[in-house]
């Protein structure tokens, strides 16, 4: 087996692509947790819903209809969840929250099965992003590059909003000390609601983006949940930098693990998770100093 430079470039791009997909998912979950101290295990189900909405919308209005509208639709579901369930659960302890959102996973899973059936759906890659481009000496699928670019853009956007705008300052204040932020006149509850919806929309976006790469099946939300949780635990709960770092670590460990130590591929990331929990239980880049 000869591994030339092209091979490693290809694998690095693969790792980056997986990282960005996980980033889109984990950022919503981690910010919701950081701000609201709310563990939303149903986040993966929202990702699955995003994929299903995108598949249905793509069948009617083409890929881009799904891409732009699926996040909006999932945010709509988020509004329903928030006003119906999550607002009531805000004051109950983490155990109750975990149980309720864990139950939600199965409720939403069966709901997707009832509406869309058990057969897997698929979305075709749009013509614009079909095919491959030559990059750094390798041919790489255009759609995967699009996923990488999209992840980078979302990261830049969020970094700007969180770091440079007033809303961002309010969110950071809320994450740091919500009681103090409320005393300073910030409507923390409304802020929570907004952030929750944006988080849901990002999960929906991740679903819509993942759909053409993977298959759209009812259990896709369950399958992505564990990697997402690993990402935010490694990165540090509640921080944007943590989500990026966690995603990159997961993507690269998973991809290069599969190449260099295939027998250990499924264990490596859990070993890393255990190591992080032992050495730095708050994660690598925790939100609070």
């Amino acid at each position: 087996m000869s591994h030339d430079l092209g091979f490693w470039t290809l694998q690095a791009l693969n790792a980056l692509q997986l990282s960005m997909l996980l980033f889109l998912l984990s950022i919503g979950l981690t910010v919701i947790f950081g701000l609201m101290h709310f563990v939303n295990l149903a986040h993966g189900s929202l990702y699955a819903l995003g994929a299903y909405f995108a598949a249905s919308l793509a069948a009617v209005g083409g890929y881009w209809a799904g891409f732009f509208l699926a996040p909006v639709a999932v945010a709509g579901v988020g509004v329903l969840l928030y006003s119906g369930l999550i607002r009531r659960m805000r004051k109950s302890g983490p155990m109750a929250q975990v149980l309720v959102t864990f139950g939600l996973i199965f409720a939403l899973l069966d709901l997707t099965r009832i509406i869309w059936g058990d057969l897997a759906l698929a979305i075709e890659v749009p013509a614009l992003l079909d095919g491959r481009v030559a990059l750094l000496g390798v041919e790489y699928p255009t759609y995967r590059l699009f996923v990488i670019a999209l992840g980078a853009v979302i990261f830049a956007g969020l970094a700007f909003v969180l770091g440079r705008t007033q809303i961002g300052a309010m969110i950071r204040a809320g994450v740091d000390n919500d009681a103090m932020a409320a005393c300073l006149g910030i409507n923390v509850e409304r802020l929570f609601f907004m952030v929750f919806c944006v988080g849901c929309a990002l999960a929906g976006l991740a679903g819509a983006v993942a759909a053409p790469l993977l298959s759209v099946t009812p259990d896709m939300g369950l399958q992505i949940l564990i990697p997402t949780l690993i990402v935010i635990v490694i990165g540090g709960l509640g921080s944007l930098r943590g989500a990026v770092a966690g995603s990159l670590i997961f993507g690269f460990v998973q991809t290069f693990g599969a190449v260099l130590a295939p027998q250990l591929a499924s264990v490596l990331i859990y070993a890393l998770l255990a190591a992080v929990l032992v050495i730095k239980p708050v994660g690598l880049f925790p939100a609070k100093g």
Binding site: Q11, D118, A120, P141, L214, S215, D219
Partner: protein
């Protein structure tokens, strides 16, 4: 000797009351929820189709009791107990997952209730863990892939890279192929087993395959993983230089349309495709389409042939658990898949294997049969059973 007398007695009582119509209770043990729900639905529809089509050939009426295994071995075991002890079924059919089959095996064997396996392909089930009460009408993992090794070698392919999910079925499927391919003189230049249901991105493995110097790739994936794999393989543009072969579940008619054009040109082997050109298959496809509006998958044919086998057993004079188990082991008929029989040494089905290419046809993707490979009985794999009492 004692068995023979018992069987003779059973036969005599059966002959004594030939005219009375009887009722046979059938327990259908299938997943109607969980990851394999689509398979469970197809098998049930196939089973019902067979009873409608062949039910008139016998006086016996069949009462169906369906239970959902949820693809969870403990749940399935509970449901099997309920069917056997409470409903007192005469025969059970179904079982999609090999894990579920493993869980109910001892219960079924101990209670002496005949079970017609309508999917689960674990080699062990008709190998070391075989039972005179368990007859498999579907396939075994090795059986489907073994003929493909020689066939690919005959096509001039010498170096192959293999990929499959890391669980029992994945390993058995690949082993079946590797055995015959290397025996023919081929070389396996690389082999990888991906974490089962934990792999979203197959990109890393595909890059490995590409740099391995292989002439072709042979894989087994099913369900959602199959869709992801085929689409990602195509998106990397590997199909042209490194043709994709595999176990036929990769491009099953159940989900090939979700794979879309990415599946075109993929060559795989399976025991059934809906485009087999025979009158028996044409009848089946038509009846199944009329019932469900879908093209039958290999899973549908498992259900159909399981139903048919039950009717054949009843026609041979079986009336209760013991006689049904015995008769099921001797069932043989020409079905949609061709000539089928049960190997008395293992209770596994003996059937031809079809090599097919997925091609674009009118109204979507279809299967072009390239070759029909002769039926071969599986090696006994440690199965030791008394031969069935002939009836």
């Amino acid at each position: 000797m004692k068995r023979a007398i018992l069987a003779a007695l059973g036969l005599a009582t059966g002959l004594a009351v030939p005219a009375t119509a009887q009722d046979i209770k059938v327990g259908l043990l299938l997943p109607f929820s969980g990851v394999y729900a689509a398979l469970g639905n197809d098998i049930e529809a196939g089973f019902a189709t067979a009873l409608e089509q062949f039910g008139a050939e016998t006086e016996t009426t069949f009462e169906i009791i369906r239970e959902d295994t949820e693809v969870k071995p403990p749940v399935a075991l509970g449901k099997a107990k309920k069917l056997i002890l409470q409903d007192k079924v005469d025969v059970m059919a179904g079982i999609v997952s090999s894990g579920v089959l493993g869980a109910v095996r001892d219960m079924v064997h101990g209670a002496g209730v005949p079970l017609i396996v309508a999917n689960a392909g674990n080699d062990e089930a008709t190998g070391a863990a075989c039972s005179p009460y368990i007859t498999r009408m579907s396939f075994s993992n090795g059986q489907v892939n073994r003929p493909m090794g020689q066939w690919m070698y005959d096509q001039g392919i010498r170096k192959v890279y293999t990929l499959a999910p890391d669980y029992a079925a994945g390993r058995q499927m690949i082993d079946g192929f590797v055995q015959t391919f290397t025996a023919a003189g081929g070389e396996i230049v690389g082999q990888e087993f991906t974490p089962f249901q934990k792999t979203q991105d197959f990109g890393p493995y595909m890059a490995q395959a590409k740099s391995s110097g292989a002439e072709a790739v042979f894989v087994f994936y099913a369900g959602g993983e199959a869709i992801s794999f085929v689409k990602q393989y195509d998106s990397f543009g590997l199909k042209a230089d490194l043709p994709l072969y595999g176990s036929g579940f990769l491009t099953s008619p159940l989900y090939v349309n979700a794979e879309g054009p990415a599946a075109e040109g993929v060559i795989t082997a399976l025991h059934y495709v809906p485009t087999i050109d025979s009158p028996a298959n044409a009848t089946f496809v038509e009846a199944f389409k009329a019932k469900t509006g879908r093209i039958p998958s290999e899973f549908a044919v498992h259900g159909y042939d399981a139903g048919r086998a039950l009717i054949e057993a009843v026609k041979a004079g079986a009336t209760d658990r013991e006689s049904l188990a015995n008769a099921l082991r001797q069932v043989r008929f020409d079905g949609p898949r061709g000539a089928l029989s049960i190997d008395p040494a293992t209770n596994n089905i003996v059937q031809p294997i079809y090599v097919y290419e997925t091609v674009a046809g009118e109204g979507g993707l279809t299967q072009k049969v390239l070759a029909q490979l002769p039926a071969e009985a599986d090696p006994a794999n440690g199965c030791e059973m008394a031969a069935p009492v002939s009836n």
